[in-house]
């Protein structure tokens, strides 16, 4: 390890950084004797970059040489950028030394395509295998599968990785082929299928033999770039909803397009990455995963794009005044979840607390309900406020969008409130 590695690290981190998946969650694995490290149930962000995004993993490319020419990618063949390649031993040492200092939860490894997909995939597999078997590294590993890699290699990779991902990048096949001529949907879906098959098979085997090897225990994820093609939020979210129907798909990430190759006329001219839109997509994604929303309730042919002015839950509520106001002392959980300003954890707290007493607005505030928003959509003990029924949706919208807008968040893993997480300890 020497100063030369610093240069390589710089090049290969800059090449890897546009992949936004940041979480390291989904695997819990205690320490085992003779091995290095453990995996925490949900990811720990060890640092935050100045763009505000979570740094949990050493997100790095094995090489940024690439024979493909995807228009949206900084590493495309036709770009004149500095190229570098790590040796397996350099990569392993960096990962382990960073890990031992508590800088990271593990490794997120990807690669440009060199020679052919299988050759590249084989090198990736060799690196993670080395880390796991020779160096007994027990921390988190996320491996990006190479589009077009053979099922055998995907199967092997899954034995060492906690999570694998194949990025779809563009939500519409025609747009994808326009921007990435060497790729099509099938080259992405087929490794996704291999990962899923591996998981199902391993689950089956583990039912029979407890010690059968685990296969990507944290499942798979994918990413879509937002704003590099003319596709609507409906295209994006429908694809997400379809992905989430697969049991192995844990997360879909959305990456506001950063115009890295401004010269390419196939790409839109953007001065700024579409951060608000990206944020709205993450919010919609949360509605799909945690709030019992169907995709057609969020976007449909009449509203193909998310409202940039208000969040998608509020947008839905404003379109459906007939569902409100909701009585917080009586309404079922599913209805509480639909109230703007009321999250999963406050809905659960309301269910628990209303068994003891009838709740009023001061209780709700203390529980963490954003009353500024919620007040137009609920009734509680003191019935007084004017709700969406009396005010009409357009006025509620006007009131709630007055003043300044909140900046977009990064959509990274939030730490959910969990009461059962901690064993009792006496100091």
């Amino acid at each position: 390890m020497n100063e030369k590695v610093i240069e390589k690290l710089k090049i290969l981190a800059e090449s890897a950084k546009y992949d936004v998946s940041c979480a390291s969650s989904g695997t819990t694995r205690g320490h085992r004797k003779g091995q290095i490290g453990s995996a925490e149930g949900w990811g720990i962000c060890h640092s935050f970059a100045e763009d505000g995004r979570c740094i949990a993993l050493l997100k790095i490319m094995l090489t940024n040489h690439c024979m493909y020419d995807c228009a949206y990618c900084i590493n495309r063949r036709s770009n004149d950028i500095r190229r570098a390649t790590f040796s397996v031993s350099e990569l392993v040492e960096l990962t382990i030394e960073f890990y031992r200092r508590n800088y990271i939860e593990g490794l997120f490894l990807s690669s440009g395509v060199v020679r052919n997909p299988d050759y590249t995939m084989e090198r990736l597999v060799r690196a993670v295998k080395d880390l796991r078997t020779t160096h007994r590294f027990n921390g988190y590993i996320h491996l990006k599968s190479i589009p077009g890699a053979s099922p055998e290699l995907v199967r092997e990779a899954g034995l060492y990785a906690d999570r694998m991902s194949v990025n779809i990048e563009i939500p519409n096949e025609r747009s994808l082929q326009l921007l990435a001529p060497e790729k099509d949907f099938e080259s992405v879906f087929s490794p996704m299928r291999h990962i899923q098959q591996g998981m199902l098979q391993s689950a089956e085997e583990r039912r029979k033999f407890r010690h059968a090897p685990r296969f990507v225990p944290a499942g798979q994820s994918t990413q879509m770039i937002v704003g590099a093609s003319p596709d609507s939020d409906r295209d994006i979210l429908r694809l997400s909803a379809a992905f989430y129907k697969r049991p192995s798909m844990k997360r879909v990430y959305y990456s506001g397009f950063v115009p890295v190759n401004a010269y390419d006329s196939r790409l839109p001219a953007l001065r700024q990455p579409p951060l608000v839109r990206e944020n709205r997509l993450y919010q919609a994604d949360w509605l799909l995963r945690f709030y019992h929303f169907q995709v057609d309730e969020i976007v449909d042919d009449a509203y193909p794009d998310l409202d940039l002015e208000v969040d998608p839950k509020l947008a839905w509520a404003l379109r459906h005044p007939e569902c409100f106001p909701v009585d917080v002392n009586r309404a079922p959980y599913e209805m509480l979840l639909r109230v703007p300003g009321l999250g999963v954890k406050s809905a659960k707290m309301i269910l628990a607390a209303r068994r003891h007493s009838r709740l009023g607005s001061s209780h709700l505030k203390q529980i963490g309900v954003v009353m500024k928003k919620a007040r137009y959509f609920i009734t509680c003990r003191e019935l007084e406020t004017r709700t969406i029924q009396e005010l009409r949706p357009e006025n509620v919208r006007r009131i709630l969008t007055r003043g300044k807008h909140r900046p977009a968040d990064d959509g990274c893993l939030l730490i959910p409130f969990d009461f059962t997480d901690n064993p009792p300890l006496r100091p």
């Binding site: 100045e50 997100k59 960073f98 200092r101």
Partner: protein, 254 residues
């Protein structure tokens, strides 16, 4: 006005709970050793801390509260917030007197406040796990210093012990002047009479550092800067996620 005086330990607080039932009186104020009593009071009751009383009080609580509610009490204690002891005593008495569990009655201000303090302490515990950074010493020990807002060091030991089981390490709270040392087989609380430079500053001097330590700090800093997307700079979010009070001990922010 009823006033209790106790030794300001958690065991002492549990002993005070024992006395609440023994004497059938509830204090309006809790004093520590040497603290002057308020002007109008009906005599100060001195609480005798004993293992046995504390254990009996704790067992009583165990019958009424779930493990996570018991953890709330511990976390509350470690918050070291002013008057948290009286709040916890109220909570404990309520729990024991109530016919059914009170822990989810968030309409009750005492329950809600204990739960809110739990949230704060738990978030600090999480931050301690996030932002702790080890420096490797020449003798192979990994050293980390921090200054958490609440006294959370003991709460992260189980995590560190699991994750860094094959490393010798010392984590040290510079503010409270104690730490935990892991010698590959067990963890012990440590305090130092003589404070060497790194225990005061939180940083290993060049003489104590492992040969590669500087290089890896530099590599980490390089990575930190390279992985940032300049087009998306967001200093507000950056600070919100990683409060400036932690920066001092982060190699990437120095």
């Amino acid at each position: 006005m009823t006033v209790f005086r106790y030794d300001k330990t958690f065991e002492g607080l549990l002993s005070a709970l024992f006395d609440v039932y023994r004497l059938k009186r509830f204090p309006d104020a809790l004093l520590g050793p040497g603290e002057p009593p308020p002007l109008f009071h009906d005599g100060v009751i001195e609480v005798g801390t004993t293992r046995e009383r504390a254990d009996r009080a704790w067992r009583g609580l165990e019958r009424k509260l779930s493990p996570s509610a018991l953890a709330c009490l511990t976390y509350g204690w470690l918050s070291e917030l002013p008057h948290v002891d009286l709040l916890l005593l109220r909570y404990m008495k309520k729990a024991i007197d109530a016919p059914s569990s009170i822990e989810l009655d968030f309409g009750d201000p005492v329950v809600l406040e204990v739960s809110n303090i739990w949230k704060k302490v738990n978030s600090e515990r999480h931050k301690a796990m996030q932002f702790l950074r080890f420096q490797k010493a020449a003798d192979g020990t990994y050293f980390a210093a921090m200054r958490p807002l609440y006294n959370v060091l003991s709460l992260i030991v189980p995590h560190l012990r699991d994750r860094f089981a094959d490393q010798r390490w010392l984590v040290y709270d510079v503010k409270r002047e104690y730490g935990y040392y892991h010698d590959l087989s067990s963890v012990a609380e440590v305090r130092f009479e003589e404070k060497e430079k790194h225990l005061l500053s939180g940083f290993l001097g060049d003489d104590l550092m492992a040969k590669d330590e500087k290089l890896f700090q530099q590599l980490w800093k390089t990575y930190f800067n390279s992985t940032c997307i300049r087009e998306r700079l967001n200093p507000r979010l950056h600070r919100q996620n990683m409060p400036a009070r932690f920066w001092k001990y982060l190699p990437e922010k120095r």
